[in-house]
Subunit: 120 residues, 2 copies
Amino acid sequence: MRIGELAERTGAPARMLRYYEQHGLITAERSPNGYRDFPEAIVDRVRQIRGLLDAGVPVKIIKQILPCLGSPEEIYFPVPDPEMLAQLEEQRDRMTRKAECVLRNRDAIAAYLERVSGTA
Amino acid sequence: MRIGELAERTGAPARMLRYYEQHGLITAERSPNGYRDFPEAIVDRVRQIRGLLDAGVPVKIIKQILPCLGSPEEIYFPVPDPEMLAQLEEQRDRMTRKAECVLRNRDAIAAYLERVSGTA
DNA sequence: TCTAACCTTGACACTAATGTCAGAGTCCAG
DNA sequence: CTGGACTCTGACATTAGTGTCAAGGTTAGA
């Protein structure tokens, strides 16, 4: 599919799709006319990227962790570089803390809303 | 306490503390010499701010939700503005989705690490 | 008293993620 | 075959969060 359709289906502006491609988050074939040609599967990938971005995970990190997610059959398990493994472990723990923090504060908001609605 | 001590105790550079003050996330008295004078309680507040920022919550939102968290006895429950309540509800749901997304991807990383360590 | 360490404000720079616009090529539909 | 819709690249603008530096005031200690 072309970039317009992908944009429409994912909600990501075409500008961002080019940006993601430029930064190696997604790849696209090129039609003879130079237009990007995305495979169907890219839709989910873009949704995942958007989710991670929205969750505050920066592009650099997403690029690192994307290969570990989805389509595991595509992965070679290419003698995992120990440095990268360390980064992944750190990232995992970081995301744990991040989630905890978000949930803690969400609960605080929820509690506040409870109190207010109870008062009303 | 002065800004240097606060910076040291929170890990936030003094530059950022001024930034937070400028954006209304924290407040400080002023000593006669013009130096900021922070109360003890600000330490936790700054830690909370840092946590939220690290979790990808922008300053604007933090400013909105901070009054709802901590020290509830300080809050007047000032006829909660319905528009703000709506924003808070949206923020709560947003944070739920955010946490889910982060956890989902963290689990994917964890699973990957499991596989690799199992293979090793 | 002088120096070092602290504080002040203000300015400039940078990165990440986006928006937007310009100029040019492509393609379909009338 | 022409106009409108789509695509391409590239450049510039913007916002948030930070880093850093300059020029100056304050203060504590040798």
